[in-house]
Amino acid sequence: MVRFLLTIIWFSISLFANNSFDKNCIKCHAKLSSSPQDIMKYYLLTYSGEKNVKMGMDHYMKYPSRDISAMPEEFLSEYGVKKHQKISDRELNEAIDDFWIRYKVIGRLK
């Protein structure tokens, strides 16, 4: 039932999704134990600045490997290293930009 609902939600989101992240990434990431926000926090912890974070993600998307992952060991062992992404560079960049805008810390602290 939950699964069905999620699928419906995902379906409607992807139907109306107007940005690359929602289109390409959310379908898997909604199910992961670490939310995209958590992933962003891990990336910030390792890469700090915007350009750095984006570069790190981009690199991992293209050449995923256990050694360069910013995620903790448990997370990786839960899901294994993810498979190579088969989306265009432009779309990946857009997705990463969306990722950044949505989950960054700058501008959200009070």
């Binding site: 926000q37 910030l44 912890l45 890469y47 974070v53 700058i106 959200r108 602290l109």
Partner: protein, 395 residues
């Protein structure tokens, strides 16, 4: 041409004074330089001390703040309130020097210095090892109080001035030490002159008295000339004798001030020097008004004698001497050898002689100066080398 005004003379010569002043100035500059360097060193070390004190507190603050950032990182985005502290203000920047969050008062930030101060704030920068919330740089800001500066300045002024004073006293002591041999040699000369003059009195008066008593009508022209020469010589020695006794016994002649007819006195002295002037074919031109002066006859005689005898001594053959006496002005002009500009200020120094071919001890003008000082009179000398010299006394 140059003018020399009265200044107090003492037993040190001008050239010696000059080198003394030079020494003192050089010494003073050196001391000031040393004191300045020490102060600078002290000031900098105080600043360093202040910074290292502050650094200790600041790094504790930074340590505490990082712990709070870590917690916030963990609970983000459920918690978004940036940790604040009343003791300090802080800011976090990412690795690209983008501001993540800041509560600092001061907006211009330096990333190159670990610790620095602006006008009223001290900034401390700490690099994070783990970039909580993406923060690579943490800035801690506290108020910069300048009390240490005031304290440092107080110490510098106090110690600096006492140190300068101390060294200056030592400098004066050293200068005195240098001067002593010069002073001693001058004093020795004084003592020597005092002793010798004492022995001159009787023979000299006897010579002069006897020359005056000679009946000049009953002797041949040849002998008359010889006697004139003896008289001239004796009078020259007599002027010298009087100068020397004045110098060594000057205090005895004090207090006997009286109203003196300067015109009469000058005429009397010109007559006295007539034979001396004749020997050099120097002629006098007198323009004398009736002027009275309240003073000591003996002293005024020394002044006039010295000025006239100098005017003769340094005159050329067949030269002239013009003496003018007006209200509050006595001027003596001679058509003599003159002096260079630079020599004029030194001419009142004791034992100073410009022309070694002329006799004398070089004490005449220093006496003149001394006496004129007593009567608050001014002496001005103007001269042109090889042409003329003019001495003007005003009172």
């Amino acid at each position: 041409m140059i003018v020399s005004k009265n200044k107090g003379t003492n037993s040190l010569l001008r050239s010696e004074k000059k080198s003394l002043y030079r020494f003192l100035i050089l010494y003073g500059l050196m001391i000031m330089g040393i004191v300045f360097l020490i102060s600078l060193f002290y000031y900098q070390s105080q600043e360093k001390l202040m910074f290292s004190n502050k650094r200790a507190t600041l790094s504790t603050y930074a340590y505490e703040h990082i712990k709070k950032l870590k917690t916030l990182h963990h609970f983000f985005p459920e918690q978004v309130i940036y940790p604040r502290d009343s003791r300090y203000k802080s800011a976090i920047y990412d690795i690209e020097k983008q501001k993540i969050f800041s509560v600092l008062d001061c907006t211009n930030i330096e990333f190159d210095n670990e610790i620095y101060h602006t006008e009223d704030k001290i900034h401390y920068m700490k690099s994070l090892d783990e970039y909580y919330l993406g923060a690579k740089y943490l800035f801690i800001e506290i108020a910069y109080d300048e009390t240490w500066k005031i304290e440092a300045w107080k110490t510098i002024v106090m110690f600096g001035s006492s140190l300068t004073l101390f060294f200056m006293i030592i400098g004066l002591f050293l200068a005195k030490l240098f001067v002593r041999p010069m002073k001693e040699s001058i004093e020795l000369l004084d003592v020597f002159i005092k002793d010798t003059t004492h022995e001159l009195n009787t023979p000299l008066s006897s010579i002069l008295a006897n020359i005056e008593m000679i009946d000049k009508d009953g002797i041949s022209d040849d002998n008359k000339r010889k006697i004139d020469r003896i008289e001239i010589a004796a009078k020259t020695v007599s002027v010298l004798y009087n100068d020397l006794t004045y110098l060594t016994l000057e205090n005895d002649t004090h207090k006997k001030d009286e109203d003196i007819d300067l015109k009469l006195l000058i005429i009397d002295r010109v007559n006295y020097f007539d034979s001396l002037a004749n020997s050099k074919m120097v002629s006098f031109e007198l323009d004398l008004n009736n002027i009275n002066f309240f003073g000591n006859r003996h002293k005024l005689t020394r002044v006039i004698d010295n000025l006239i005898s100098n005017a003769i001594k340094y005159n050329r053959r067949k030269g002239i001497i013009k003496i003018t006496l007006k209200d509050k002005l006595l001027s003596i002009y001679d058509s003599g050898t003159g002096m260079f500009e630079h020599e004029i200020p030194m001419m009142f120094d004791r034992y100073k002689r410009f022309n070694e071919s002329e006799g004398g001890f070089g004490i005449g003008l220093s006496i003149v100066k001394k006496i004129l000082n007593e009567y608050a009179a001014n002496i001005e000398v103007t001269s042109k080398k090889s042409e003329w010299t003019m001495v003007e006394i005003t009172w």
